[in-house]
C-alpha cells in the first residue's frame, strides 16, 4: 500500500557540493516502510519538473520514544529535480509517495555452509549507499554479522561510514585515488574476502553504478553467493502504471521485461540480463 504525504522538510544538510541529506516529517510513511523501499518525490510544487523522482529511503527517523517519525533521503545532484532537492528549504513541504517497491529480502540466516554462521555483505558505490542504512539496521536487529564494502572516487565521496560502524557493521573503504581506505575499486577487497571466507555462507547486497553491480553479481555467481542488487531505472510513476522502468530478466524461459518499480528495485542478481541494462 502506498500513500502520498505532503511532508515538511525538517533539515537539509549539505555533505558536499553535490551530496545532501534531507529529513522529512512523515510518521505514517516511516511506519509503513521496509528496508530498501523507495519514495517518489515531487521535487517542486509547480510543474517544473513535471514528474516525480525516485529516492531510496535512507534513514527512518524516530522520536524520543523510538517511534517512527519521518525519513531522510540521501541525494546526489545530477539534474533539475535533484538540484531542487539539494536546495530544499526547511519548513517547506514536498509530496512523498510511498513506500514503494520490493524491499531487500528478509534477513534469513541463509543455508549455512558447514558450521560457520552466515554473513551479510553490503557493497555500495557512491550514492548507492542510500538503501543500506535500513538494511543494516534490520540485520543488526537480527544480530547478523554484516560487512559494508563502500567505494568512492575519493575520500570526499565517502559519507556515513561511522553510522554503519555504530550499527556494528564492519566497514571496508576504498577510493579510486587512494585518499581513504584501499586504493582502487570496491570489488577488489570484496573479491579477496570472498576467496578468504572459508565455509561461511555469505549473502551479497549491492547498489551503485551498473558496472559495479554487474561486477558484484559476477563475483557472487563465481563464489556461489545469493546476490541482490538494487537497480535505478528511470521511473515515470513508481506504481506499475507506465511500464517505463523495465529491466530485462531471464528466469530460464524467455527473457522478458519486468517493471522494476514493482518487482524491484531489489532483484536477485542472477535474473538480470545485464547487457540490456541502460545505465
Amino acid at each position: 500500500m502506498a500513500i502520498d504525504v505532503l511532508a515538511e522538510i525538517l533539515t537539509n544538510r549539505a555533505l558536499s557540493a553535490d551530496y545532501n541529506v534531507v529529513e522529512f516529517a512523515a510518521p505514517e510513511l516511516a511506519r509503513l516502510a521496509q528496508p530498501g523501499q523507495f519514495v517518489m518525490v515531487k521535487t517542486s510544487p509547480g510543474g517544473d519538473p513535471l514528474l516525480r523522482r525516485p529516492y531510496s529511503i535512507f534513514e527512518i527517523l524516530r522520536d524520543a520514544n523510538g517511534r517512527p517519525s519521518g525519513l531522510s533521503i540521501l541525494n546526489k545532484y545530477v539534474g533539475a529535480g535533484s538540484a531542487l532537492i539539494y536546495a530544499a528549504t526547511p519548513g517547506h513541504r514536498l509530496s512523498l509517495l510511498g513506500p514503494l517497491g520490493t524491499p531487500w529480502p528478509a534477513a534469513e540466516p541463509g543455508p549455512a555452509r558447514g558450521s560457520a554462521p552466515a554473513e551479510h555483505w553490503m557493497v555500495a558505490g557512491g550514492v548507492g549507499l542510500a538503501p543500506f542504512v535500513t538494511l543494516a539496521e534490520t540485520l543488526a536487529a537480527a544480530k547478523r554479522k554484516t560487512t559494508l564494502f563502500y567505494g568512492g572516487r575519493s575520500a570526499g565521496d565517502l559519507y556515513f561510514a561511522g553510522l554503519f560502524g555504530d550499527l556494528g557493521v564492519d566497514v571496508i573503504l576504498t577510493t579510486e585515488d587512494g585518499s581513504r581506505g584501499e586504493r582502487g575499486r570496491v570489488t577488489a577487497p570484496l573479491d579477496r574476502a570472498l576467496a578468504d571466507r572459508g565455509p561461511t555462507a555469505v549473502t551479497l547486497y549491492a547498489c551503485g553504478p551498473t558496472p559495479m553491480m554487474r561486477a558484484v553479481a559476477a563475483l557472487g555467481a563465481a563464489h556461489h553467493c545469493r546476490t541482490f542488487v538494487s537497480l535505478e531505472q528511470v521511473m515515470g510513476c513508481g506504481m506499475g502504471g507506465c511500464y517505463s522502468c523495465v529491466v530485462r530478466v531471464d528466469d530460464g524461459h524467455d527473457p522478458h521485461f519486468v517493471r522494476s518499480c514493482l518487482e524491484g528495485p531489489v532483484f536477485d542478481a542472477s535474473r538480470i540480463v545485464w547487457d540490456a541494462l541502460v545505465h
Binding site: D4, L51, Q233, G236, G240, G241, V246, H256, F257
Partner: protein, 307 residues
C-alpha cells in the same frame, strides 16, 4: 451541499462519473487496487492489448520534456487471453468499469481481439487504439487515413455489440474528419487525443534519448492543442467525446468538458498523483454547486462564443 449528479452515459455505457484512467497510464488498474478504491473511478482503460503478448521497446522508454514527457513503451502487454484470464475476474470482483484498449496490426486482429473481449465477462467498452505513434505495425497507419479509420471501426462494429470508441491521433491536419469517419463507421463515441509524435536528442552523444528514436508527447504541454481538437470534433459530430491530453486539475477537466467532452481521461497526471480521482470529482461537484448545475452533463459543450 445538495447532491450533484456526476454520472454520464456514453452510448450504452454508463459511468459513475466522467473521470477515467487513460490507457497505458494505469497499468491494468489492479496495480493500484491496494492503495485506492479503483471502482470509484468513472472507468479504467487497460493498457493496449494485442492478441498475443508483446515485449515492448528496450529502455529508455520515457524522457521528461517541458511540462510533458515522451514515451515509447512499444505496447508491452500480456495479450488479450491472459488479460481475460488473469486480470478481468479481479477487476469484475472489485466492481471496476473496465474499458479495454484494443490494438491490432491488421483489421482482422482488431476484430479478433474485440470478439474475445465480447465473449468475456466484465468488459464495459472497447477503445480502439488506431493512434499509437510508437510502433510501426500498430494502428497509426489506420488512424492517419480516413478510409483506414472507417474500415477498422466498421469491421469491429460487426464483430461486437460492446460500445466501441476509436481513439484518434492528433497527428493529422483535420481531426474532425476522423471523427466523422468514426461516426460513419458506427462508433459509439470517440476518444482523443493520443500522443503527439515527437523526439528528444541527447546533444552530447547525438543520439535520440529514447531507444525507439521517437516517442509520443503527453502531459500539460499538449493540453491547449487537445482542447482545440475536442472542440473541433464537438462541432463536427454528434458522438459523445472522451477528451484527454494534459489534464491535471479540475479546471483542466472543465476546460475539456466545456469544449465538448462528455468524459475525460487522465494519463500523465496520474503518474504524478495516483490519488487524483477523488480530488477531480470533488472539484466537479463544487463547481456544479457554485454554478448551480444539477447534472455534470450540463457542462458538456457549454462554451460561449457569442460576444
Amino acid at each position: 451541499m445538495t447532491t450533484r449528479d456526476l454520472s454520464v452515459r456514453i452510448g450504452s455505457l454508463s459511468l459513475k462519473n466522467p473521470v477515467i484512467a487513460a490507457s497505458g497510464c494505469f497499468g491494468y488498474g489492479l496495480e493500484y487496487a491496494k492503495s485506492l478504491d479503483i471502482a470509484r473511478l468513472g472507468a479504467v482503460v487497460s493498457k493496449g492489448l494485442f492478441m498475443k503478448p508483446r515485449e515492448g521497446h528496450p529502455p529508455p522508454r520515457i524522457v521528461e520534456t517541458p511540462s510533458g514527457m515522451l514515451n515509447a513503451i512499444g505496447l508491452q502487454g500480456i495479450g488479450v487471453h491472459r488479460f481475460v484470464a488473469e486480470k478481468l475476474p479481479e477487476l469484475r470482483r472489485l466492481g471496476v468499469t473496465t474499458i479495454v484498449n484494443v490494438c491490432g496490426t491488421t483489421i482482422d486482429e482488431y476484430c479478433e481481439v474485440s470478439r474475445v473481449l465480447s465473449d468475456a465477462d466484465g468488459v464495459a467498452a472497447l477503445e480502439l487504439n488506431i493512434s499509437c505513434p510508437n510502433i510501426k505495425e500498430g494502428g497509426i497507419q489506420f488512424g492517419c487515413s480516413l478510409t483506414g479509420t472507417y474500415d477498422v471501426v466498421s469491421a469491429v462494429r460487426k464483430a461486437t455489440s460492446l460500445p466501441i470508441i476509436p481513439k484518434l491521433t492528433p497527428n493529422v491536419t483535420d481531426v474532425a474528419s476522423f471523427a466523422r469517419a468514426s461516426e460513419e463507421g458506427g462508433a459509439d463515441a470517440i476518444s482523443l487525443v493520443n500522443t503527439f509524435l515527437a523526439m528528444a536528442i541527447d546533444v552530447e552523444t547525438r543520439r535520440p534519448k529514447l531507444s525507439n528514436g521517437m516517442g509520443g508527447l503527453s502531459g500539460p504541454a499538449i493540453r491547449p492543442i487537445a482542447v482545440r481538437m475536442v472542440y473541433e470534433c464537438h462541432q463536427a459530430v454528434k458522438l459523445p467525446i472522451i477528451g484527454m491530453g494534459g489534464i491535471g486539475s479540475v479546471e483542466d477537466v472543465l476546460e475539456f468538458m466545456i469544449a465538448g467532452a462528455a468524459a475525460v481521461q487522465i494519463g500523465t497526471a496520474a503518474f504524478v498523483d495516483p490519488f487524483i480521482w477523488d480530488k477531480l470529482t470533488a472539484g466537479l461537484s463544487s463547481y456544479m454547486e457554485r454554478h448551480n448545475l444539477a447534472r455534470v452533463t450540463d457542462i458538456t459543450g457549454s462554451l460561449r462564443t457569442d460576444a
